[in-house]
């Protein structure tokens, strides 16, 4: 290719400039650093599920904490992807301080990906064994069996027991479920099959899957709880196993549904600190703060989850009270999912479950 003197010089100049710029950019990327200045200011990076849930956390926990401790501010981001936590810890570049984490996951990777915690709280204010070595239970939630009251308007002939969920002859219709093992769907099926709630662990996986198999053709597995809520509000399913907050959201949106208070699974949501987080001590103080009764109550009022602190007395809306598995509305019994057991057995069972689901 022929080039005159001027263009050639221009090309050379441009090339040199480009090469220089690349090197400079690379150096800038490596050299940048933030966080941890010397004047006592702390920025906690807080990672949760986003949406209205995280907004509630900001209002109920973060803003009051900053009001009390003006030197502490928060950077909020989402989603709390555990793969990112693992990558940060493995590469030694941890930037997250507080991460919403499934309790079984924190317990499974305790001391390797998640830091062992030293959080000050009064154990008598919480149900026994609620918090783990590497997570605190920042709130509780329940998995509620509810049905469309348009389909079964008369309470006398509507579903009343968890056996009814699996009885497609007596109660024909579509069932909606999220395949989230941590919510207790296997335990629930076992109890419906006649296992005593005291004896669900260790879980007889085959028996639980056989139970789900019995209504396989009538079950719509939703990809996530948001998708299930959509199915419920657009009446694509007739009865469902759905977490409490989303039942409330459906009621608030005007959906006609009623809970079946027979056996309800309860779980906890976990919050953890990545191993090597920049501000672990401050993050632990914040954890102790959010576990207080008032903070817990405010979170429950704002988001429809349940407090983990037993002294907490949230004032719920009418719909919130109607669907509250932790309040007087629940006339059945509650069974708690065991995150520690799941931490030990998750990988194997989730693989087995996945195989069953995709057959």
């Amino acid at each position: 290719m022929y080039m005159g003197a001027m263009p050639r010089r221009a090309v050379r100049l441009a090339a040199a400039a480009t090469a220089l710029a690349t090197v400079a950019l690379g150096a800038a990327a490596c050299g940048s650093d933030s966080n941890g200045s010397g004047d006592g200011k702390v920025e906690l990076t807080y990672v949760s599920y986003g949406g209205t849930g995280q907004d509630a956390m900001i209002k109920a926990w973060q803003e009051p904490y900053t009001a009390l401790n003006p030197n502490v501010t928060f950077i909020n981001t989402s989603p709390p992807d555990p793969a990112q936590v693992k990558a940060q810890v493995q590469t030694g570049a941890v930037t997250w301080d507080l991460v919403s984490t499934a309790p079984w996951l924190a317990s499974q990777n305790c001391g390797t990906i998640y830091a062992k915690l030293n959080v000050q709280y009064d154990p008598s204010q919480f149900p026994p064994n609620l918090h783990g070595e590497c997570f605190i239970a920042d709130f509780r939630y329940s998995l509620i069996f509810s049905y469309n009251t348009k389909k079964w308007p008369d309470p006398a002939t509507a579903p009343r027991t968890i056996q009814d969920f699996f009885d497609v002859e007596k109660f024909p219709g579509k069932r909606g479920v999220v395949p989230a093992l941590q919510d207790g769907i296997l335990e629930w099926a076992l109890i419906a099959d006649g296992v005593d709630p005291e004896d669900v662990y260790p879980i007889d996986v085959q028996r639980a899957l056989d139970k789900w198999d019995s209504i396989r053709e009538h079950t719509t597995w939703a990809a996530n709880v948001g998708a299930l809520l959509q199915l419920v509000t657009s009446e694509q399913v007739d009865m469902q196993l759905m977490v409490q907050a989303r039942n409330q959201a459906a009621l608030d949106a005007g959906a006609s549904l009623a809970p079946v208070w027979d056996v309800t699974m309860t779980s906890i949501d976990g919050m953890a600190i990545p191993l090597g987080a920049p501000n672990q001590a401050e993050a632990e103080k914040f954890m102790a703060f959010l576990l207080q009764p008032e903070q817990q109550a405010m979170m429950a009022e704002l988001s429809g989850v349940a407090p983990s602190n037993l002294l907490s007395e949230p004032k719920l809306t009418e719909n919130g009270e109607k669907i509250n598995a932790f309040g007087p509305a629940n006339t059945g019994r509650s069974v708690a999912v065991d995150p520690i057991w799941w931490g030990q057995n998750w990988n194997q069972i989730s693989e087995e479950f996945n195989r069953w689901l995709n057959v």
Partner: protein, 288 residues
């Protein structure tokens, strides 16, 4: 007055490539290598992560399902796209613009909005189901099924088929058809023996693009499909974000990459031209 460059020194214009190479190497090459490195045991040489893929009872099934879905999407888009692209070469500039706008429309809406749109259309008692009901197909369930996902993916991927076809068909000399006719060939035979073989490059380019993109689809099957009928990208996501099994995910990713590359190589040998893909990728970007 020009200083002459030594023979061994490449032309300085090559320096302009440094940013692109650095960017690609940094954000694509290095992580890709790391995934692969982890999948073979990070130095402790092992193939267990690969053998696990073939024995866990899920991966092969999902891989086959993904291949099948991608193949159906490719065929559907080819059948819809070929006449469309042909029409684009036969109309005037105004109508051609209209047709281009129509086919590019999906790119101008957010992927999420588009998928939620399909969600509502595909629901039970939704528009699509009621429409099919008019013709007596009463219980076609599309939400949460592979069929529904295939339908939505076909719409999203149609431009990737139409554009390479259009650029190939536009370059065909129509006088050849006249020549065939004048030598006594009926129109259909002339099309099949003269026109279609000349369009093969565009067909193969479109097929490669559509198929490989379909293999990696995540949002559409996650929203419209069902966890019961996962495609490979969902399996990858699950392995990474739930099981934190980076080595296993690396193995799965490598397997998918190899399978895709082999298919592309094979299709390329069948007479496509990667240059056509380059042209199209430049025109459309590769957003999904």
């Amino acid at each position: 007055m020009m200083t002459s460059r030594p023979r061994w020194l490449p032309h300085p214009g090559w320096l302009l490539l440094i940013p692109a190479v650095a960017l690609l190497g940094g954000i694509l090459g290095v992580p890709l290598w790391q995934s692969f490195w982890r999948s073979i045991g990070s130095g402790d040489w092992t193939l267990e992560h690969y053998s696990a893929l073939f024995t866990d009872g899920v991966t092969l099934k999902v891989l086959a399902r993904t291949g099948q879905a991608a193949a159906v999407v490719t065929i559907v888009t080819l059948l819809l796209g070929y006449p469309y692209a042909y029409l684009m070469t036969r109309v005037g500039p105004l109508w051609r613009s209209v047709l281009v706008v129509m086919v590019l429309m999906p790119f101008w809406t957010s992927a999420l909005a588009r998928n939620f749109g399909w969600l509502i259309l595909l629901y039970d008692n939704g528009l699509v189901q009621r429409f099919l009901g008019l013709f007596g197909f009463d219980d076609v369930v599309l939400y949460g099924t592979a069929q529904g996902v295939t339908l939505a993916m076909s719409q999203v991927l149609l431009p990737f088929m139409v554009l390479p076809l259009f650029s190939a068909l536009g370059g065909i000399d129509r006088k050849l058809l006249l020549a065939a006719r004048s030598l006594g060939s009926p129109p259909l035979v002339a099309f099949w023996k003269v026109y279609f073989p000349l369009s093969r490059g565009g067909v193969v380019a479109g097929v490669i693009l559509t198929f490989t993109l379909a293999c990696g689809f995540y949002v559409t099957p996650a929203l419209i499909g069902s966890p019961r009928e996962s495609l490979i990208a969902q399996l990858l996501g699950q392995r990474t974000t739930q099981l934190l099994d980076f080595a296993g995910a690396g193995a799965l990713g490598t397997l998918v990459l190899v399978v895709t590359l082999v298919l592309v190589w094979w299709a390329n040998r069948m007479g496509g031209s990667m240059a056509t893909i380059g042209v199209v990728a430049g025109q459309t970007g590769t957003r999904r």
